[in-house]
């Protein structure tokens, strides 16, 4: 197995809500890493989103708060209208800088900052979506030696995002949604 990771970062867009439900319901209750997600759902109300996701998740789900350090076994969702970054001090940071590829939060911003902060000790996951956000970020993660996971485009509700990620960044694992949680569990040495 590849060197242990400190964090999982995940991005999804169109169709992402359902995909997140599936993924979170499959993670082991003793999943040892924090997971930070950017999900473009178009909804402003991230606390409601967290509540909905918590119903199917084995792990607690909350909005990421600025200056707080991600904790093991917790799921964090980027607040609406802000870019979510991981600072070099290992804590979350927010920005209202311009949209990146029409998106704020942007998956690329989270992935790139986390790749730098964790120096490659992280896992990046790109799932369903109708744009190309996350491709560059995943490339940064993989260049620094992190693990790249992409949902199989033909399995995704919207294939553009996983396709773009595969094309630019490639992947260490490319598999259907149903198998991603299991893979994450195994990569982290836990079984469900």
């Amino acid at each position: 197995m590849r060197a242990a990771a400190d964090l999982v970062v995940l991005g999804c867009s169109a169709g992402g809500l359902r995909a997140l439900h599936v993924l979170l319901s499959g993670l082991a209750a003793n999943f040892p890493l924090p997971l930070a997600a950017v999900c473009h759902t178009g909804s402003e109300d991230v606390s409601l989103l967290c509540e909905l996701l918590a119903r199917s998740s084995t792990l607690p789900v909350q909005e990421a708060s600025e200056r707080c350090a991600p904790k093991p076994g917790q799921i964090y969702i980027a607040p609406s209208g802000y870019h979510l970054l991981l600072g070099v001090d290992g804590r979350f940071a927010l920005s209202v800088d311009a949209r990146v590829g029409y998106a704020r939060p942007s998956i690329d911003v989270l992935f790139q900052s986390a790749a730098e902060a964790c120096r490659g000790r992280l896992i990046g996951v790109v799932m369903t979506g109708a744009n190309s956000d996350g491709a560059e970020g995943l490339q940064q993660i993989r260049r620094r030696g992190g693990v790249g996971i992409v949902q199989r485009p033909d399995d995704a509700e919207a294939s553009a995002m996983p396709s773009a990620a595969l094309e630019l960044a490639g992947a260490d694992h490319c598999l259907p949604l149903e198998q991603i949680a299991g893979l994450l569990n195994r990569l982290c040495g836990v079984v469900r």
Partner: protein, 277 residues
């Protein structure tokens, strides 16, 4: 300790050069966002690395304003987070109404979107004639734009929706003139606004404020600088004066955060404590 990446070192040298050569101190800006902004500048200037940009910054003084404008990123909206402005209108302004003269400091005013939002709130509350708004930013380019009060017409719809959601009593169009692709804020809204350059990093107290609005500026600062600016705000506020921060800001790690108590914790509206903690 693992070896730092080349770009991390380049970023530190850039920050050093900006300070030593030009006196601008970005040493306590959070690195993740700063790195993105500096890299955006590198690209916009057609350089291949931060190192190249630094080398030019040292010799080419004309580049400085471009760099400051690039590091400023004045992204804003009129009445962004309408609930905040509604709350200011319904709860804070009525309390400020008891002062014969009301001083408001808007720090980090970007292109003035929030300055004019405040002016409209005060106008509709019948308080504007005895109010003074100090609108400050560390970017001269941003201040110049704020003074003009000209925004792209395509933003007008969002601004109007925000205005109404904030409890606006008229139509936002009553406060601007639309021409071609632009809207221009009515001159009368500028009558009690003073624009000035003020750098939160190094400049001090300059007024006695009843309300300070500084939203989404401290999110770019490290804990020590955030604390420093909160102290500055505390010292600038009258007793029980109000402080309004961005709705996702966290002051729990700042010592000076204890000198404020939350009036509305969710909307990040605070009041200076009577006594220092």
């Amino acid at each position: 300790m693992s070896r730092p990446e080349v770009e991390e070192v380049e970023l530190e040298l850039f920050v050093r050069a900006l300070k030593l050569r030009h006196g601008y101190d970005f040493g306590e800006y959070a690195r993740a966002s700063l790195r993105r902004r500096v890299n955006a500048l590198v690209q916009a200037q057609g350089h291949g690395s931060i190192g190249e940009l630094t080398a030019r910054l040292l010799r080419d003084d004309a580049l400085l304003p471009v760099v400051i404008a690039g590091l400023s990123v004045p992204v804003s909206e009129m009445f962004r987070d309408p609930a905040v402005f509604r709350r200011l209108r319904d709860e804070v302004l009525p309390l400020l109404a008891s002062y014969p003269q009301i001083n408001i400091w808007q720090a980090g005013c970007a292109f003035g979107q929030e300055v004019y939002s405040l002016a409209i709130l005060l106008e509709e509350a019948g308080l504007y004639d005895r109010s003074q708004i100090y609108a400050t930013d560390f970017s001269d380019a941003a201040i110049a734009r704020a003074q003009e009060g000209i925004f792209p017409a395509r933003e007008a719809r969002l601004y109007s929706e925000n205005y109404l959601a904030a409890g606006g009593q008229h139509s936002l169009a009553d406060y601007y003139h639309a021409r071609y692709e632009l809207i221009t804020i009515d001159e009368r809204l500028k009558r009690n606004v003073t624009f000035a350059n003020h750098n939160l990093v190094c400049d001090g107290v300059f007024c006695e404020a009843h309300l300070i609005l500084c939203r989404n500026v401290l999110i770019y600062f490290t804990d020590p600088l955030q604390n420093h600016v909160l102290e500055l705000f505390r010292d600038s506020l009258v007793r029980s004066g109000f402080l309004c921060l961005g709705t996702r800001e966290n002051i729990a790690f700042a010592r000076a955060g204890r000198d404020f108590r939350a009036v509305d914790a969710r909307l990040r509206i605070f009041q200076r404590e009577q006594q220092r903690a």
